[in-house]
């Protein structure tokens, strides 16, 4: 098999695992799925929003439904035991993947957003006090920014936003000056979904700890694309979503240090998270089940395990190299044009490039790109305050993953040129 680039990934073979990459688009979108009016090959460059799902992951979930579908934790019968073991081991697998100590530190949530809300509703409502502050950054996703903003409003605490510099990097001096002894939480995105900036999250966590604050790192764009070790970062909380890392929707992970999770009250209450219920009161299950009320996403956990297996088979270092190389190529090609403004740093960036074509609104541009089969994200990418800082209402973002190629970036550049001609 030929390899398409220096990163050593066999992209051609990888693409064969993703049937959706074969479909054509361009026809009727009001009915889901392909139809005979579809005529454009698909160039999928919207991986930061959601990634595609390889056969191996879909098959693992199909096997679950066809062969051992059952509720977990509570059944004595064989199917339930099989499902329970698979579900519980999915926590071990996720823990191992990001360097957590064990399943006690891995809570399955619906997604990254729910992981932030879980910590806000448990830690935040019980620990954050008036006069204290939460330090976060201008480049946070709404999942984090809105959660902290609303929590601070409720608790009478202050929220502080660390500024970015001209290259779209965090201003670490500003961060150091904003974290003080009243800081209770420092929260930063690991890889920005809009700028592609990779933040120095260990250093940020160290600064938080020097002031007795906790750190919560948003790993939604990092875990899918590079090796991550939460213990090395020393983060107190860390979150990511299954659907951005070849897994299914409906499952995300909240990592938390065991001693912290133990001290927190439960988030949602009900079945499965209890040990003993009496009319007068209830005691909670052990970690992580204390935070997983009701029937959990079992098939999704099985899918997440398969996704992690797939990513590790390919190799996270190789994926990171492949992505960075594509991002650099896209950055350089887009930089050839004076009418294109690119956001975020040139060096050390994640596998995505946000930009604007002068005189063409991002939504118009992405409609035209779609006509050429190029799927990108246009809009505010759930970072409206960051767009205010950038001084633009919206941007267009191309984001890459292990199955993307340089040829697809060439398609992007050609389609951008069509838009340029139309609007000239």
């Amino acid at each position: 098999m030929p390899t398409s680039d220096a990163s050593g990934l066999d992209v051609e073979a990888i693409r064969e695992d993703f049937p959706i990459l074969e479909r054509k688009i361009g026809g009727d979108v009001t009915v889901p799925g392909p139809d005979e009016t579809d005529d454009q090959p698909l160039y999928y460059l919207d991986n930061a929003a959601t990634s595609h799902t390889p056969r191996q992951v879909v098959e693992a979930m199909t096997d679950y439904y066809y062969e051992y579908n059952s509720n977990v934790h509570r059944g004595i019968h064989s199917l339930s035991q099989e499902a329970s073991i698979a579900y519980e081991e999915a926590h071990d697998r996720a823990a191992e993947f990001v360097g957590a100590d064990g399943r006690e530190e891995v809570v399955f949530t619906k997604n990254t957003t729910e992981a932030f809300n879980l910590v806000a509703y448990t830690w935040g409502l019980t620990e954050l006090e008036p006069g204290e502050n939460v330090v976060t950054t201008q480049m946070e996703h709404h999942a984090s920014l809105v959660t902290w903003q609303q929590l601070c409003e409720k608790q009478g605490a202050e929220i502080r936003y660390v500024e970015i510099d001209e290259d779209g990097r965090l201003d670490m001096d500003d961060l150091r000056s904003k974290v003080d002894d009243d800081t209770a939480m420092v929260s930063a995105v690991h890889v920005s979904n809009t700028l592609g900036t990779i933040n120095p999250v260990s250093e940020i966590t160290d600064i938080a700890h020097e002031h007795g604050a906790l750190s919560f790192i948003d790993g939604a764009q990092a875990v899918p694309t590079r090796p991550v070790d939460v213990a090395e970062i020393d983060a107190d909380f860390y979150a990511f979503s299954g659907h951005k890392m070849l897994g299914p929707t409906g499952i995300g992970v909240l990592y938390g240090k065991q001693h912290l999770l133990e001290e927190l009250p439960p988030f949602l209450v009900g079945g499965a998270m209890i040990r003993r219920v009496e009319f007068e009161g209830t005691t909670w299950e052990d970690l992580p089940w204390k935070f997983e009320a009701g029937t959990p996403p079992i098939a999704e956990a099985v899918g997440l395990t398969a996704a992690i297996d797939y990513l590790e088979d390919v190799g996270m270092e190789a994926i990171e190299r492949h992505e960075s190389e594509l991002a650099r190529y896209a950055y350089d090609r887009l930089s050839e044009f004076d009418d294109i403004e690119i956001y975020g740093p040139h060096e050390e960036r994640g596998g995505l490039v946000g930009f604007n074509l002068e005189g063409v609104h991002a939504h118009d541009l992405s409609s035209i790109l779609d006509d050429h089969g190029v799927a990108v994200r246009a809009g505010d990418h759930c970072t409206q305050p960051l767009h205010d800082v950038l001084g633009v209402p919206a941007s267009t973002r191309a984001s890459f993953y292990l199955y993307n190629t340089r040829e697809e970036i060439d398609e992007l550049i050609d389609a951008v040129d069509t838009a340029r001609q139309l609007f000239a």
């Binding site: 361009g26 979108v29 063409v360 609104h361 991002a362 409609s367 035209i368 505010d380």
Partner: protein, 139 residues
């Protein structure tokens, strides 16, 4: 529905050369709308005839995508001569007809923003709506 089909000559022409662009002196009513996630903003100013019912003149200002701005520009040409009741009766199909192209489902909100702003403005003017600071047509 494909992108370039939406960008036929008429749309691009109205986007590049918007008609009746700018703020009106002494409008009878004026209203502002915004779709925050797009960043599309539109202000519509309307002058009525002496019968206080017939639309005499319309101007718009704002910025945003070609669809939202072209729809606003076209609307300023379509509305004069119509009554407020006729304005209020305009629906999404009327706007799509006015634009003369199919609008993909995700972009309908851009196409109808100016109409909604004009409609809400007229309702506020007649006291049929209270305290609606801004008009939004996205979900």
């Amino acid at each position: 529905m494909s992108g370039s089909d939406m960008y036929r000559q008429q749309i691009l022409d109205h986007y590049k050369n918007p008609r009746n662009y700018g703020e009106m002196q002494d409008p009878d009513f004026s209203h502002v709308g915004e779709n925050p996630s797009c960043g599309d903003t539109i202000q519509v100013d309307v002058k009525l005839a002496d019968d206080d019912e017939t639309i005499e003149q319309v101007a718009f200002s704002g910025d945003g995508c070609a669809i939202s701005q072209a729809a606003a520009s076209l609307l300023t040409e379509t509305l004069p001569g119509k009554s407020i009741d006729e304005l209020q009766a305009m629906d999404t199909d009327d706007i799509v007809d006015m634009l003369g192209v199919d609008i993909s489902p995700m972009r309908i909100k851009c196409a109808v923003l100016a109409r909604q702003v004009a409609q809400d403005g007229s309702k506020l003017y007649r006291g049929e709506l209270d305290e609606k600071d801004r008009t939004i047509t996205e979900e």
